[in-house]
Symmetry: C2
Subunit: 282 residues, 2 copies
């Protein structure tokens, strides 16, 4: 496994792979890797000839009062995990490679996709995400890129950006990986103490409650919402940011679910903000 | 010479060229081609193995009261001219290829580069330009792209965008081509009647007046500005938008020129808005 920091070296490696007609799979990450990330790597290993993983904690997707400074930095552990998965190439760019001096270009998806849900609390978040992903896509030039379903809105926004900017890249969204008790894996779970970790189960429990109702035929957005809220009512220390029943592509709230919906939740447990979601389909 | 409208066909042609290790040169245009465009094509022919020219009148770089509807559409003449230059590939994308349904992604350079000069009158212009160029760069995937110096600010903005987004594309800016009397070639010169064409000479005359002073040692921005304005004072029917003496990279106004400056002019002759510029260097 090669660990590459320099842009030139990356381009040489990618060009060689392309010349050899290798299918290149790419998993962009901010490090602090867990089984969720590794499931993306596994999918890439199955479907591609060369798998590249980037590790870059992107400053522009953190808000001014968010956790950029304390975000877990675990490069040694991360590279060991990736070597264990037989990843071909780990790209760890310097900040100046991604944001060169005088850098002032932004890639931004406009409209509801980046105004609703996460964006209400984090107005600059998605333009940070789309800008860094656009650059990483240029640098790695993959055939396929893998994202986790857990960051549902992010995957919708990136799919839109990729399509709109004519990137010839297939976006694969892989299912959320959960601990046995239901908690969706997240690098931010590290922030939780034991008591908070129990409270954090409110998110997945809320989603599972909605799923149970959906499986019993409930198709009213309001009713599904109430079912999720009822779970949170039992967790006084958890502060809900939003519970939303939306169209999975447009993110428009649904009064009535026809074929499918996404149930999205964001909540704070202590200082830690967590998100989770579930797709419900006929 | 192949004329290609479909994205798939373009990608196939470009991939084949790349597999054959051909250096790809790209000249993006809005058609209505003149010798200025053809000089870009010549440069590309000299330096590259495959030359692609795009013809696409980009709606998003026109303001609501600008000339999108009446912009000259001369595809037959354009392709004849390009065939005469032995261009390999002309890309004439449909609007939906560049702006697919639901398209909502913008590429935008922020800061002074896109707030000053042209942007004062045309606030949305440059984000239209950078967005379409970013897409065309993805589709054509050239090694080198050629732009005309006449659109000075555009070339600075595109260079910034290309660098910031990590496009592995060399941006070449080619000198402005002028008629023998000094008028910079522009597709919009077609709008001028004979009398207006004489008035339009005010722009190049103003620039040449500044150059003459510069060659005699004048280095004060104000004095160069006054010299240009003095020329326009003799053209009562020409309405000046701006005369600016700026740093060629940052576009900051210069009180005193050290090594070099760009003199930029925009003016209206009748309904036609024209721009021109000159680099002055020690």
């Amino acid at each position: 496994m090669r660990i590459i920091e320099a842009e030139d070296e990356l381009r040489t490696a990618v060009s060689a792979a392309r010349a050899a007609e290798k299918r290149i799979g790419f998993v962009p990450t901010m490090g602090a890797l867990h089984q969720g990330h590794l499931s993306l790597v596994s999918a890439a290993k199955r479907e591609c000839d060369l798998v590249a993983v980037s590790i870059f904690i992107n400053p522009t997707q953190f808000g001014p009062n968010e956790d950029y400074d304390k975000y877990p930095r675990t490069l040694n552990e991360d590279t060991k995990l990736l070597a264990g998965e037989d990843v071909d190439l780990v790209f760890t760019p310097a900040r100046e490679t991604i944001y060169p001096e005088g850098c002032s270009t932004w890639v931004e998806v406009e409209g509801l996709l980046t105004r609703t849900l996460e964006a209400a609390q984090r107005p600059e978040h998605f333009r940070g995400v789309t800008t860094v992903v656009a650059k990483l896509f240029q640098l790695v030039a993959p055939d396929v890129a893998y994202f986790g379903r857990k960051d549902f809105q992010q995957s919708v926004v990136i799919r839109r950006m990729t399509h709109d900017l004519c990137y010839p890249i297939d976006i694969q969204v892989c299912e959320t990986i959960r601990d046995p008790d239901g908690l969706a894996l997240s690098s931010r779970n590290q922030y939780l103490n034991e008591k908070q970790r129990q409270q954090a189960l409110s998110l997945s429990k809320g989603l599972f409650a909605a799923r149970a109702m959906f499986e019993h035929g409930e198709r009213h957005g309001d009713a599904l919402h109430v079912a999720v809220q009822a779970v949170f009512d039992e967790y006084a220390d958890v502060s809900v940011d939003y519970i939303a029943i939306v169209d999975p592509e447009t993110l428009e709230p649904l009064e009535t679910v026809v074929d499918r919906c996404a149930v999205l939740i964001a909540a704070r447990v202590g200082q830690t903000r967590l998100i989770d979601n579930l797709m419900l389909e006929n």
